[in-house]
């Protein structure tokens, strides 16, 4: 019998509709969110197996409303007794906290919804054997090692199967299934005390809703050899200059720029102050919606959970709200925040379907999902041609921003000097810093659809208790004027 990548553990039976009947008597209103997730991590380092691990998460988060307050209890005990006990704990928490609640629950915050979602895939995990897949990862390391100066190579693949079911005492029944794939292939070059790491678009930026067709290894091998050579080029390169220059960011760095300086500051729960003790607040105020010129007229940003294959696409969020495409920023003007029905009701502002939880053991909160910068009209060559002297940067390696999402500093793996409209010499240790609104208002050119690329990240952290969630970001390359760029110390 062939050992494919697919794994089917033996689980106890679970019927969520039946489970709902067990817990309905415990509270005025009840919801059950069942999550089953299998995460396969396959890592090869220097052509040897490094990490072969699969996690199987399975449990239920119960939502219980008592006296107008909602509270939660998560459990992996899916027996009748276990779920009844969890429902009692949630109801008891709701009862105790009701006199001090921050928000009054109503059933409008959990609209009745029925439907489903299946993420796109052509080749499932049963389409490839474990042996074949491991051999491909080993070969990827071989292609990354283009020189003896490459001291470390790694080829990491993550395959995630997720089943979500959400039912409520008010008639919601949602069933969503996802297959999520990502890779992180990288080479580290070293010469003396200098070391340089180069990867395929930055750590785990290549992530999609797809099947094993995502791993087109013949194309990946070509990319591996390219980044291996670029790691060597970086060893011999000059530091990025310390100057105020035109800056062209590749789509794989735009993903981080969008995430940190658009996604997080627009979260309505941040604006409400929920995150002030951990992730931070926001410089955006409720009165800024419809008034703040967030960026130049070229800036058009959407919340778009409908892009087939992007990492955070779905049909319904965790409160049952149907997910639709919405403009957050149009022609540079701030229009709409990233807020669930709960945050919308607390602020009196429109939002989006972005109520999400990391797993069965966390309550949903406002999250970034797919946030995309819409394409403009310029080719990549047009953008370069417009630059007399500047820097082109690719692939994030360092990120830091203040707790109001104003003052940022980001670093990239790889850069090229731009002189007289042409890409020139390679630059190492490229960084840039700025302040969010002035930076986006310095946006001078936006790449066209042909230059537009889709990336994402599995690692967006937020919340108390904390949660890591998947996000998608698509963007073309963009040109910004008069940005402070700098490199490493001499």
């Amino acid at each position: 019998m062939k050992t494919t990548l697919a794994i089917k553990p033996r689980y106890p039976d679970f019927d969520i509709q039946r489970a709902l009947t067990w817990v309905i008597p415990e509270a005025d209103w009840v919801g059950l969110r069942f999550v089953q997730e299998h995460t396969h991590q396959r890592t090869v380092r220097n052509q040897r197996p490094e990490h072969n691990a699969v996690s199987f998460d399975r449990g239920v988060m119960i939502e219980a409303v008592v006296d107008g307050q909602i509270a939660y209890a998560g459990t992996s005990d899916l027996s009748e007794q276990g779920l009844r006990e969890a429902a009692r704990r949630a109801a008891s928490l709701a009862r105790a906290s009701a006199p001090f609640k921050a928000m009054c629950f109503s059933e409008q915050l959990r609209p009745k919804a029925q439907g489903g979602f299946v993420s796109p895939q052509r080749a499932g995990l049963d389409s490839q054997t474990l042996g074949e897949f491991t051999d491909h990862l080993i070969a990827a390391c071989r292609h990354l090692k283009v020189s003896d100066k490459i001291v470390n190579t790694s080829a990491e693949a993550t395959l995630v199967e997720t089943w979500l079911r959400y039912v409520t005492s008010s008639g919601t029944a949602i069933d969503e299934q996802f297959l999520l794939v990502s890779n992180n292939f990288a080479a580290t070059a070293q010469d003396g005390t200098e070391s340089q790491r180069r990867s395929l678009n930055g750590p785990v930026a290549r992530c999609r809703q797809a099947g094993l067709e995502f791993f087109d290894f013949e194309l990946l091998y070509v990319d591996c050899e390219r980044v291996g050579r670029q790691a060597l080029e970086l060893l011999a390169a000059q530091n990025c200059p310390d100057e105020t220059l035109s800056l062209v960011l590749a789509p794989d760095q735009m993903l981080l720029q969008i995430h940190e300086s658009i996604g997080h500051p627009l979260e309505l729960d941040r604006i409400l102050g929920d995150e002030r003790n951990y992730a931070g607040w926001s410089f955006v105020k409720p009165e800024d919606f419809g008034r703040l010129q967030y960026g130049s007229k070229l800036m058009n940003v959407t919340f778009d959970p409908t892009v087939a294959g992007e990492f955070a696409s779905y049909a319904f969020d965790a409160c049952g709200l149907a997910a639709t495409r919405e403009y957050l920023i149009r022609d540079g003007l701030l229009l709409r925040g990233l807020g669930s029905l709960e945050s919308q009701s607390r602020l009196g502002l429109p939002g989006v379907a972005n109520f999400r939880s990391a797993s069965w053991n966390r309550a949903p909160i406002d999250r970034i999902a797919n946030i995309n910068l819409e394409p403009g009209n310029n080719s990549f060559d047009d953008i370069l041609a417009a630059v007399e002297r500047g820097v082109y940067m690719e692939s994030n390696i360092s990120w830091s921003i203040d707790d109001y999402r104003n003052k940022f500093q980001f670093g990239c793996e790889y850069a090229r000097l731009i002189e007289n409209g042409k890409l020139g010499k390679v630059l190492k240790n490229p960084n840039y810093r700025g302040v969010t609104v002035p930076f986006w208002n310095s946006l001078k050119m936006v790449g066209n659809r042909a230059s537009h690329q889709v990336f994402g990240s599995p690692y967006c952290g937020k919340g108390e208790p904390s949660q890591i969630i998947r996000v998608g970001h698509a963007s073309p390359p963009c040109l910004f004027s008069a940005v402070d760029v700098f490199g490493g110390s001499k």
Partner: protein
């Protein structure tokens, strides 16, 4: 029966059942992480979210014929079902080790002995906690997280080792907000943590924080980018010490080109002879045994008088590079990392810190650190919370948040003037996946020059 007792019964049942079923040449390790927690989230002194989580997560490592496969699953607590799932996954593990190539750095499982630690605590009723926090802080704009309940870490393997650690503690990690005379939001950070919740001590902690708010209400003092004398309070220093766990003192990361302290490790440079850093499990913040059940030395000196003494070496790294292991924990992108870091104290009395600073910046907290120049161990990040401009030893006014960009070699080297005589335990309050264990013991640090860029 308590969740801790139930977890132990299930864990032992599963271990004994599957160890008895192993085939010739198979080794198995079972690693339990469990918690029964109440998480109360506050905003503006009201309850924003209240969540109860009971979770038991079992990681199983199978080794056979020089191959290794790990799987992790959520226990239901129902012994027959948990065993049925475990058996089905063991069957998969047997197929995996038939197919996977040989891993030359697999470390054979050993019996690292037995230990059993239970740190009993007294869990408060959440009714009392909610009433206490919400009532006592009404009108002061408190935001934060209260977490309480037992946490468990346990490791058994088929060679016979058996380590158990359980503890029951509570913490309130909070911020108090105000608006100052410049119309800016200002906040002070507080933490109350104990194994036995004490209402009066919690309220005293909040009152202390409230008193600090008065200084924050003054008009902000403008501080342009540049270099300033700075006193970094223990919480700010703790953030910087966190960067040592981003591969900096990992033997494996160093060999792979992933340590920012390469020049220190290879003797090209050093820190100040006043800087001493060690891993100290005697602090009792975390179980001494690691996820393999190995017992590291009670103390591992990392930096002594500014010079590197030891890197952290896991048994797998030791196998790969032919060096001695100090049973460091490994895993993730940053390889070996500190679990219980202690920076040794200096001569400066904390009460004299502002006088010694003279004129410069008092930095209470730092936020969102990352490498700025990996080759020279330069880091960037932001000031956060109660940071002040100080003149002639007196705090004058709060500052607006500043971005710093500074090398570890300057902070703990050329620019290090003194460390405080006192140090603070800063327990881990991370809650990704589950509540963390561990923490750091850290003094304040006075530096002659600290660079701010934005």
């Amino acid at each position: 029966m308590s969740a801790t007792s139930e977890s132990r019964i299930v864990f032992d049942y599963l271990a004994e059942a599957v160890f008895a079923e192993l085939l010739q040449g198979e080794e198995l390790s079972l690693n339990l992480s469990a918690e029964d927690q109440v998480y109360l989230r506050f905003n503006n002194s009201r309850v924003r979210q209240a969540t109860d989580v009971l979770q038991r997560n079992l990681k199983v490592t199978m080794q056979c014929r020089g191959r290794k496969f790990e799987f992790t699953y959520d226990l239901t607590g129902e012994e027959p079902w948990d065993l049925a799932t475990l058996r089905s996954l063991l069957e998969r593990a047997r197929r995996e080790v038939q197919v996977l190539p040989e891993d030359p750095f697999v470390v054979p499982m050993q019996d690292f002995g037995k230990s059993d630690q239970h740190h009993a605590g007294e869990r408060p009723s959440y009714e009392e906690v909610i009433e206490c926090i919400a009532s006592s802080t009404a009108g002061t704009d408190l935001t934060g997280l209260f977490a309480s309940g037992p946490q468990i870490r346990a490791v058994r393997n088929s060679a016979g080792q058996n380590h158990w650690f359980s503890t029951e503690t509570s913490f309130l990690d909070y911020s108090l907000y105000t608006v100052n005379a410049s119309g800016e939001n200002k906040a002070v950070k507080g933490l109350y943590a104990e194994s036995v919740w004490d209402r009066q001590r919690c309220l005293a902690s909040i009152e202390t924080s409230k008193r600090q708010l008065s200084l924050l209400k003054r008009r902000s003092h403008p501080v342009p980018p540049g270099e300033y004398r700075a006193f970094l309070a223990p919480a700010a220093v703790a953030e910087i010490i966190g960067m040592f766990s981003w591969g900096a003192v990992s033997y494996s990361a160093w060999k792979k080109g992933g340590s920012a302290l390469r020049k220190l490790i290879e003797g090209e440079t050093s820190f100040s002879d006043k800087f001493n850093l060690k891993e100290n499990f005697l602090l009792g913040l975390t179980p001494r045994f690691n996820s393999l059940g190995e017992l590291p030395p009670e103390e591992v000196t990392i930096v002594e008088k500014g010079l590197l003494k030891n890197l952290l070496v896991s048994s797998r790294t030791a196998e790969e590079y032919g060096v001695a292991s100090n049973a460091a924990e490994t895993g993730g992108w940053f390889e070996e990392h500190l679990r219980s870091a202690e920076v040794m104290t200096g001569e400066l009395a904390e009460a004299d810190a502002l006088q010694a600073l003279g004129t410069g910046l008092y930095v209470s907290n730092l936020h969102y650190l990352n490498w700025s120049d990996f080759q020279t161990a330069r880091i960037t990040g932001m000031t956060r919370y109660a940071c002040f401009w100080v003149e002639n030893g007196e705090p004058v006014a709060p500052i607006q948040d500043l971005r710093f960009d500074e090398s570890l070699y300057r902070i703990f080297g050329t620019e290090l003037e003194s460390l405080t005589r006192e140090s603070q335990i800063i327990p881990a309050t991370d809650t990704y996946h589950r509540r963390a264990l561990g923490g750091r013991k850290i003094p304040g640090v006075l530096v002659r020059a600290f660079r701010f860029t934005l």
